[in-house]
């Protein structure tokens, strides 16, 4: 076998992904004067963090009486008790510090009259463990993700982080002992594969919402880090839990932030009824996202949807007045005008539940270390490998994420991972030898797409297969699921996946070949779609965002545990939920009402 020689770059740490989580971790390392490379398939400010709108949740108590323990209670309850309470305590406890830190970095938060950071009400947030609505979500108008992403990128410029923009990570390089020694990556502009050698590797590759046909997610959300982890023989956790955001613009998918309801907006069916009162008598429109999405789905099923096909409901906000809308929701007004043809100052916005966020992901602990059942326990750290952000499953979101907790997750655990990596790098100063065979495997995967397209122009196309996969997931793995639906979906997905080896490209240029990029992304999406269906089929209960019509109740006796999915033979393993927090009492699972 010929030795594939590809150029190599060596760093202390390599970070894959230039969104909020990757940038926050990179900052920690760069400011400690380590050699850190940040690889991103897009220029960092094109990352999906930029689309986050409503805010970042932290108990600052700038508006209403508040403390982090109430935030913790809401997050545990919101997770339908599947969240790990040690990680949730860590996140909520550190939330105020994390937000102040962002403010010190220069993030342009909106302000209250007294000069403090502006906070708004968000869904599932309460005072005093389930009491009155809390006002806890810190915001920069309705473009908080943009503000956060740009600020973190700017701080990394100041810290002189080394960016490798438009480099696409292919595979993890692991040696026989299981230690991760870096990644292979494709320089998109030239088509040159590179080896990035590093003693610590952090995955911050974001979500994979593009497994669905209709999604709020950017085109780039193809779960590349998850594919890398599965191919390296490691599992994915809780992949059955996908959040359907109650308010996406139909078909287009663009997100209409929960902040619209936080600022006083509410949902109406075709009869003009404020139907949330029937589903969540106390919290109404600010119930948890899974609850509101199910309510909308019920309205649509009951024939009370709006429009000629009855396939959406109305989100009314005009009553708060034009000035408030322009000041606090300018981005929403812009999106509504552009994508729904509606000015919310005058008319209600059409909305429908839309795939939005992946609660599951790469199993990790509260130091950002990737953990897996390797030899002894179910949560053994994989040496040299970290994961943070939407691609990771800490798990702070459990079965359902609360709004405002995802930006928080990025910065709290981005920092925590950075800190732990500093220790790890100090304790492991010597690079280990790189297994060449692993590099070759990755290059072979890349070379597979050099195969010529059949002369007759036949064969499968990447776009065709992707469309078929997305239709299967949309039709079979939505807000409501049941065994027959999931089983049929898995059968169909198997057929689609079986056609993937017949796919070939007609574009074989090395220069900025986006056709090849989409093919490599599709390989990751297919693995994730399968992980989702297999995990969803196995979980015979309803919890959070996973609603089984054939098993409508939560079943703590059997299912208060995390799923672990391994690719290849679709093996499922399980591990217990960490119910014990770091310092406070456990919030015992109880019935969840809003």
């Amino acid at each position: 076998m010929t030795q594939a020689r590809i150029p190599k770059r060596t760093f202390d740490a390599v970070i894959v992904g230039g969104g909020g989580a990757g940038l926050r971790a990179a900052l920690q390392l760069a400011e400690a004067n380590l050699k850190v490379a940040l690889i991103s398939k897009v220029f960092p400010t094109r990352s999906h963090t930029v689309s986050a709108q409503g805010g970042i949740t932290a108990a600052l108590a700038n508006v209403s009486d508040d403390n982090w323990h109430w935030h913790m209670y809401d997050t545990v309850k919101g997770s339908d008790y599947l969240g790990d309470q040690d990680a949730i305590e860590y996140m909520c406890r550190n939330a105020p510090t994390a937000v102040y830190e962002l403010e010190h970095m220069g993030l342009p938060f909106s302000r209250l009259d007294n000069g403090k950071i502006y906070q708004r009400p968000f869904g599932g947030q309460s005072q005093n463990y389930g009491g009155d609505q809390a006002i806890r979500t810190c915001a920069a108008a309705d473009r908080t993700g943009h503000a956060l992403l740009h600020t973190l990128y700017q701080r990394n410029i100041a810290a002189r982080t080394q960016f490798f923009d438009e480099f696409y990570a292919l595979d993890l390089i692991r040696d026989e002992a299981g230690t991760v020694l870096g990644v292979t990556a494709l320089e998109i502009e030239t088509g040159q594969p590179w080896l990035f050698e590093a003693r610590a590797t952090l995955l911050a590759t974001g979500g994979a919402g593009r497994i669905f046909r209709h999604s709020t997610n950017a085109h780039i959300n193809t779960g590349d880090g998850l594919g890398m982890v599965l191919r390296a023989g490691l599992p994915l956790e809780d992949m059955e839990f996908w959040q359907f955001h109650p308010t996406g613009i139909p078909i287009v998918g663009s997100l209409i932030t929960e902040a619209v309801r936080g600022e006083g907006g509410y949902l109406l069916n075709k009869d003009g009824e404020r139907f949330m009162s029937r589903y969540a008598p106390n919290a109404r429109d600010l119930a948890s996202r899974d609850v509101v999405s199910r309510a909308i789905a019920q309205e649509l099923r009951g024939g009370r949807g709006c429009g000629p096909h009855g396939d959406y409901v109305h989100l009314k906000i005009d009553h708060i007045g034009a000035d408030k809308i322009k000041e606090r929701l300018p981005g929403i007004r812009e999106l509504s005008l552009q994508f729904a043809g509606v000015d919310p100052i005058a008319d209600p916005i059409p909305v429908t539940p839309t795939a939005h966020y992946m609660m599951g992901g790469i199993p990790s602990n509260l130091y950002g270390q990737v953990v897996a059942p390797v030899r002894t326990g179910p949560e053994e750290a994989v040496p040299g490998l970290y994961a943070v952000g939407e691609c990771a499953c800490v798990s702070v979101h459990g079965a359902n994420r609360l709004g405002g907790n995802s930006l928080l997750d990025l910065v709290v655990f981005g920092r925590a991972a950075g800190l732990h990596m500093l220790d790890y790098l100090r304790e492991n100063p010597i690079p280990r030898p790189l297994p060449q065979a692993e590099v070759e495997k990755s290059l072979a995967r890349l070379a597979r797409w050099d195969k010529p397209k059949p002369e007759n122009g036949g064969g499968e196309s990447v776009a065709g297969l992707r469309g078929d996969m997305q239709r299967v997931m949309q039709d079979h793995c939505g807000v409501y699921r049941n065994e027959a639906l999931l089983r049929a979906g898995l059968e169909q997905l198997t057929q689609v996946a079986a056609r993937l080896p017949d796919a070939a490209l007609s574009d074989h240029s090395k220069m900025f070949n986006t056709a090849r990029l989409e093919a490599l992304e599709l390989e990751n999406l297919m693995l994730i779609a399968r992980a989702t269906l297999v995990s969803a089929l196995a979980r015979t209960e309803s919890r959070g965002a996973h609603s089984r019509e054939d098993h409508p109740r939560r079943d703590d006796d059997h299912w208060l545990r995390h799923s672990l999915y391994f690719t290849g033979n679709d093996h499922l393993d399980y591990k217990p939920v960490r119910l014990k927090p770091l310092t406070v009492e456990t919030f015992q699972p109880k019935e969840r009402t809003y």
Partner: protein, 232 residues
């Protein structure tokens, strides 16, 4: 619908050329990016362009359409004259098809030190900022770095290496305008240069094309005013 799209692949050895495409496509409610994706998915997968958020917030898909710089994902197809002529953003080197080399653009952005400079010890809580002080940042911080403005600017076309361009200057002013920033003098020193700032002649193409409705010319004017005030 009929399209005429700029095609160039340096690897092919062929010169850049415009290629015609015709595709059945119902334009109602659809954006230009939808059509580009449909062409790539069904007619010609080698057509290359950048895209990410598809809702006008990430700034990836700036292109020149019928002579005007736009974001493909928020440009309605309805009302565009056919054949719709799509070219890469002007003046920057073309990597392939509609993909330009943004290196120069990003270099200018980095040059203005686009980060808050404040050397005071950090307080335990937030640094206070009144809503009025914060309002000074509106119309500045929302820039998505798409490059539509800078590549529409004749001053940038003439001196792309020396004139910072509207996007970088807008970001430069974003930090000057921030009540929390302490480096105004240093920032003004850097801008006070016959090329970096003063090549702006108020042509206002930047304002005309900004897909986010921002006004770089006004920000540049404010920098100039501060320089005059400082000199007095």
């Amino acid at each position: 619908m009929r399209f005429r799209i700029y095609r160039y692949d340096p690897e092919s050895g062929a010169k850049p050329a415009m290629r015609d495409y015709e595709i059945e496509f119902e334009p109602r409610g659809k954006k230009l990016l939808d059509a580009l994706i449909a062409i790539k998915d069904t007619l010609d997968e080698s057509l290359s362009f950048r895209r990410s958020c598809r809702e006008g917030v990430c700034g990836s898909d700036g292109v020149n359409v019928n002579g005007r710089n736009v974001l493909a994902c928020v440009t309605p197809l309805e009302g565009l004259k056919e054949p719709i002529e799509i070219r890469p953003l002007p003046r920057l080197g073309v990597v392939r098809d509609l993909i330009v080399d943004m290196g120069q653009f990003y270099q200018h952005y980095r040059a203005v030190k686009p980060y808050l400079i404040n050397l005071d010890p950090e307080p335990e809580n937030e640094r206070p900022q009144s809503p009025q002080e914060r309002a000074e940042l509106d119309g500045l911080w929302e820039c998505i770095l798409c490059g539509c403005c800078t590549t529409a600017c004749p001053s940038f076309w003439w001196n792309p290496d020396k004139f910072l361009g509207p996007a970088a200057l807008l970001q430069g002013y974003r930090f000057i305008a921030d009540s929390r920033d302490q480096a105004t003098n240093e920032r003004l020193d850097f801008m006070e240069d016959p090329y970096r700032l003063f090549r702006c002649h108020g042509i206002m193409n930047c304002v005309e094309v900004c897909p986010k409705g921002l006004n770089p010319t006004q920000a540049i004017g404010k920098i100039k005013t501060l320089l005059v005030k400082r000199a007095l």
